[in-house]
């Protein structure tokens, strides 16, 4: 037994000593190629994951037996034409550069169906679709008359008229509407009377609840009204450069909550105002004697903001603020502060508030606050915008799709899908024609896009994500604040 043990020990040891370096070299990408000029070569690999999975691969015109998800190894450095095909889906083509020892990973390839699935949800014509961001509600206008307004809950698929048949409000005409993200309330300004009527609507009930709050608007029609949360006590109305607090419960309007401000934002029960290059903070329920707290001031703010500029302040997360100027100027409180000089039409943040998708008339880009700064940078630069797409004509809206791997955008009356973060520009995939001049809405939770179909104005849903991709999105969740108490 001792001799056998010794023989086997040395045998195993020899196998180990031979195998170990070979496996390590192979794991690092080294292979031996029979060609005389190659000898030992360091290779790279391409990793491909698609939704739906099970697609066939062609790399440099060579068909591989593996189906996606697949890792194609032992590729000598160079440029490869990669094609992914699956019956019923549009082919996916890329030119991929393989470097020695490196892996090129495409881990979230969405294979768009050749024929995109759509279905009409409400077979009645609408002219306008107004999504309330970060809630499950879409407001649909057949005409501007209150009786033609419906509230659609995309989570349950149900819809209710805003006002019941026979209500005295049925024939009143809506002139303007206001909503705040994450709140199931919206404010309608209806024509009628000298100054019009203001209706405060709550839509997260079985039947929408409507209450007139015209008494609060003694100063007339505000430029903007914002509030926060699922059960707001206060509305904040902007008149010129003055911010007025309107007490919903107390039915009171306190003037001069903030005066001469350049911009304001609401976050967690506090109003943040920008005034004379100073950031001030006041609680929603602050007393008149409380002037608020100065939270930031200094010369750098003077260099940052224009004196005449007006900014919309938005909290992406606890620590990150965005300032969107009137002319599309985009700033943030994070380095390098100034991101876009002009032209930003809008932006959307991912659920964590670390990635921002912003768009201009013809292009969109991604600002990734989570990307760590380079270690060897002489100048601390912070994140930079990665302009992922250029070539649109009139971009109106954009959404992150399938996490942050794709972008769905509305360009004039077309809906398009573009993968991002794959290195280089990717071609856009046309999905559907939509009714122009009104919004669309996309939920990454359902993987569906809601829009008004252009010929009849029906509310229609388009399946952007295949079923197996939705389960992944569900795992990571989607921000939805509706119903959260203030």
């Amino acid at each position: 037994m001792i001799i056998l043990r010794k023989i086997l020990f040395y045998l195993f040891l020899a196998v180990y000593l031979v195998l170990c370096p070979l496996i390590i070299l192979y794991a690092l990408g080294y292979i031996f190629t029979p060609k005389a000029e190659e000898g030992f070569a360091k290779t790279g690999l391409i990793h491909l994951e698609t939704v739906p999975s099970g697609a066939s691969l062609l790399i440099a015109n060579r068909r591989y037996g593996e189906k996606t998800p697949a890792t194609i190894r032992n590729l000598l450095p160079g440029s490869y034409d990669v094609k992914i095909v699956k019956p019923g889906c549009r082919p996916w083509n890329r030119k991929v550069a393989v470097e020695p020892g490196k892996a090129v990973a495409f881990s979230q390839i969405l294979l768009v169906p050749k024929k995109v699935k759509t279905r009409a949800l409400l077979a009645q014509p609408f002219r306008e679709l107004v999504p309330i961001p970060e809630t499950r509600f879409l407001i649909l206008f057949g005409t501007r008359q209150a009786g033609d307004i419906r509230v659609f809950d995309w989570k349950s698929g149900s819809s209710v008229p805003l006002v019941a048949v026979g209500s005295p409000l049925v024939h009143e005409v809506c002139e303007r509407y206001f909503f705040s993200k994450g709140s199931p309330f919206f404010l309608l300004k209806m024509s009628g009377g000298k100054e019009g009527r203001y209706l405060w609507c709550r839509v997260d009930r079985e039947k929408p609840e409507i209450r007139e709050i015209s008494d609060l608007f003694v100063r007339g029609e505000p430029a903007e009204v914002r509030w926060e949360g699922g059960n707001p006590e206060y509305l904040f109305a902007l008149y010129g450069r003055d911010l007025v607090r309107l007490g919903l419960e107390k039915k009171s309007a306190a003037s001069d909550f903030f005066t001469k401000i350049q911009g304001y934002g609401l976050y967690k029960g506090r109003v943040f105002g920008l005034r004379s290059f100073t950031m001030i903070r006041r609680n929603f329920d602050a007393r008149a004697a409380d002037p608020g707290t100065v939270i930031e001031k200094g010369t750098f703010l003077e260099n940052l903001f224009r004196e005449s500029g007006v900014y919309k302040i938005d909290f992406l997360s606890n620590d990150t603020l965005c300032f969107l100027g009137e002319n599309g100027e985009l700033l943030s409180n994070e380095l390098p502060y100034h991101f876009v000089k002009e032209g930003v039409r809008g932006y959307e943040a991912d659920p964590d508030g670390r990635k921002v998708l912003l768009w201009k008339t013809t292009s969109f880009g991604v600002l990734d606050f989570s990307r760590p700064a380079g270690k060897k940078e002489l100048f601390k630069r912070g994140p930079e915008i990665d302009w992922a797409f250029d070539g649109g004509s009139d971009l109106q809206q954009a959404f992150f799709v399938y996490g942050t791997s794709h972008v769905l955008f509305r360009d004039q009356d077309g809906l398009f899908l573009v993968p991002i973060g794959e290195g280089g520009r990717s071609p856009r995939e046309f999905l559907a024609k939509v009714l122009g001049n009104t919004a669309v809405f996309y939920s990454d939770k359902t993987g569906e896009c809601y829009y008004l179909e252009p010929s009849r104005g029906y509310l229609t849903v388009l399946e952007v994500l295949p079923p197996e991709a939705k389960s992944l999105v569900y795992m990571f969740g989607e921000k939805e604040i509706a119903g959260k108490p203030q």
């Binding site: 037994m1 180990y16 170990c20 496996i23 794991a27 690999l45 190894r73 490196k102």
Partner: protein
């Protein structure tokens, strides 16, 4: 070599060297675990390469060990029907016996021929070396059974099993080593057992070990040593030469087979250097194996397997748990360590140093059965098992003593010093660190890859390699499950098919057990030794049902 196998009373350089070797195993284990965790985040590429090196070494070792587990089991199975007493009696007339065997029909089965040939080789060696053994009838067995808190049922099962070793019982002296600090009911139980079985043996001594003798710690070795000294007086009084006495130190829950002492007699007689050797049976934990929770069964079956594998490497075998040895050697070297918890392995190292490397362990193709820890409830059994494993892992206390001994010894060859020192060190470090590397650290580079690392070929290869290794290890696991089905005693009650399936699935607890009931207690013990926090002997909870 005059070497005091103890850490007591050290001063100056000796104390420094002792502390260095006490710190080394724990420091190495922690460095491996924490270092690789750190590397996984800071240098994932280097970490991934280390993981490949470790995993490949582990899988090869696993297959190597599985192979020897099978061989060891085969040998055990083949030797099961051996008439050990006939063999021992044969040695009394060596020349004649050899001739008889040489002429005997060796049968058609190659395995039985293999066994016979092995037996003949033993006889040949005995003849060549000229170390004539004492007559089998002159051999006396001393069995020391230390008792402190064990129940009467557990003690009686032990003594009763020894009493079944007819016709050798009249050559056996049992010494029950009872701690004076034991509870009254324990003492009463022992006395009842002594009264019941006294007539079964040559003699049954009850030796009460007083508490607090100078130089002693509250450990089993002190109790056993006190009883062995009393037995020495007994043998002197009876005129029995020590070289004819084989001493066995049994854990209280030990249950021996009816031919155990016959096998021991033969092993002792057949060993030319019988006074420079310990005799190690294979301890298996079968007494209550079907009465304990599943995880405890897996843990102890694993321990049994480990011992089975160890017996295939006599050159590195160390005494463990219940073992036997020449009483003359024991007396000569000054009995078991009286201040160490791990007296079972300690006695081997003490002897190895005392006899300057001229000492070894002879594996016996014989099992003896012990209890699996059972503390009544699931959670208490977990705690009890943890403490038992920590006590076993405390065997690391031998490392600094052995290394000091090696530094002082001029006769032990450098090869043997390195061989034994490395095995002792590597064994303990592997015990504490490897399960963490396998179950946790090995996956870290894949779970938390940096952007830079996730864009390398190695990231994908390491993942694939790790999966392949674990796939291969499941083959070894399947082999182990098969072996456990063969080796474990038959279930006394019939279980429904579902439970049988569950018993098989228990083996999938191995990764959890490896970490929580193997690596963690070992790391705990090494950390205590590092910080000079000594442990006291803690007796495992063992119960008998019915």
């Amino acid at each position: 070599m005059k070497f005091i196998y103890s850490r007591q009373g050290l001063k100056g350089k000796e104390e420094f060297v002792q502390r260095v070797f006490e710190i080394l195993p724990g420091l190495t284990s922690w460095t491996l675990v924490l270092g690789l965790i750190g590397l996984s985040f800071w240098q994932p590429l280097v970490s991934a390469i280390f993981v490949i090196i470790f995993l490949l070494a582990w899988i090869m070792r696993l297959f190597y060990m599985t192979l020897f587990l099978v061989l060891s089991y085969l040998r055990l199975s083949l030797e099961k029907g051996t008439d050990w007493l006939a063999r021992a009696r044969g040695l009394d007339r060596l020349d004649l016996y050899r001739e008889e065997l040489a002429k005997a029909d060796r049968g058609k089965k190659w395995l039985s021929r293999l066994i016979l040939n092995s037996h003949l080789r033993d006889l040949e060696m005995l003849k060549t070396r000229g170390k004539v053994p004492p007559l089998s009838s002159d051999i006396r067995h001393l069995v020391v059974v230390p008792v402190i808190k064990e129940s009467e049922a557990v003690i009686e099962a032990n003594i009763a099993s020894i009493a079944k070793n007819t016709p050798l019982t009249r050559q056996i002296v049992v010494a029950i080593a009872l701690e004076s600090r034991a509870a009254d009911e324990v003492k009463e139980g022992v006395r009842r057992v002594v009264a019941k079985y006294r007539g079964e043996f040559l003699d049954l001594l009850l030796v009460e070990h007083p508490e607090g003798l100078p130089g002693e710690a509250r450990v089993k070795g002190a109790n056993a040593t006190f009883a062995a000294k009393a037995a020495a007086e007994y043998f002197r009084g009876k005129g029995v030469p020590f070289e004819n006495v084989v001493v066995s130190c049994f854990d209280t829950d030990t249950v021996v087979r009816p031919d155990y002492f016959a096998c021991l007699t033969y092993s002792f007689m057949a060993c030319p250097d019988r006074h420079r050797a310990s005799f190690q049976p294979v301890p298996v934990f079968h007494n209550n194996i079907w009465e304990v929770p599943g995880f405890a069964r897996v843990v102890e079956t694993g321990s049994s397997f480990f011992q089975l594998i160890e017996t295939t490497d006599p050159e590195k075998l160390v005494t463990f748990s219940s073992h036997s040895m020449s009483f003359q050697a024991l007396v000569e070297m000054g009995y078991w360590p009286v201040d160490m918890i791990s007296d079972d392995s300690g006695i081997f190292w003490k002897a190895y140093l005392y006899f300057e490397g001229q000492y070894r362990v002879v594996p016996m193709p014989m099992t003896l059965s012990m209890d699996v820890v059972d503390a009544g409830t699931w959670w208490r059994t977990v705690v009890s098992l943890y403490k038992q494993k920590r006590r076993w892992a405390w065997g690391v206390e031998n490392f600094p003593l052995v290394m000091r001994g090696f530094l002082q010894s001029k006769k032990i060859s450098l090869y043997n010093k390195i061989r034994h020192g490395f095995k002792l060190f590597e064994g303990h470090v592997t015990w504490a660190a490897l399960p963490f590397l396998l179950t946790l650290v090995g996956w870290l580079p894949a779970i938390f890859p940096s952007e830079e690392f996730s864009n390398t070929v190695l990231y994908y290869s390491a993942n694939r390699f790790t999966q392949a290794i674990f796939g291969l290890s499941s083959l070894a696991l399947a082999g182990t499950i098969g072996m456990s089905i063969w080796l474990l005693p038959k279930k006394q009650k019939k279980y429904p098919l579902l439970w049988t399936l569950v018993h098989g699935l228990e083996w999938f607890l191995v990764p959890v057990i490896l970490v929580f009931l193997s690596a963690m207690p070992a790391l705990d013990a090494q950390t205590r030794l590092m910080f000079n926090r000594r442990m006291e002997f803690w007796v495992s909870d063992k119960r008998r049902q019915g």
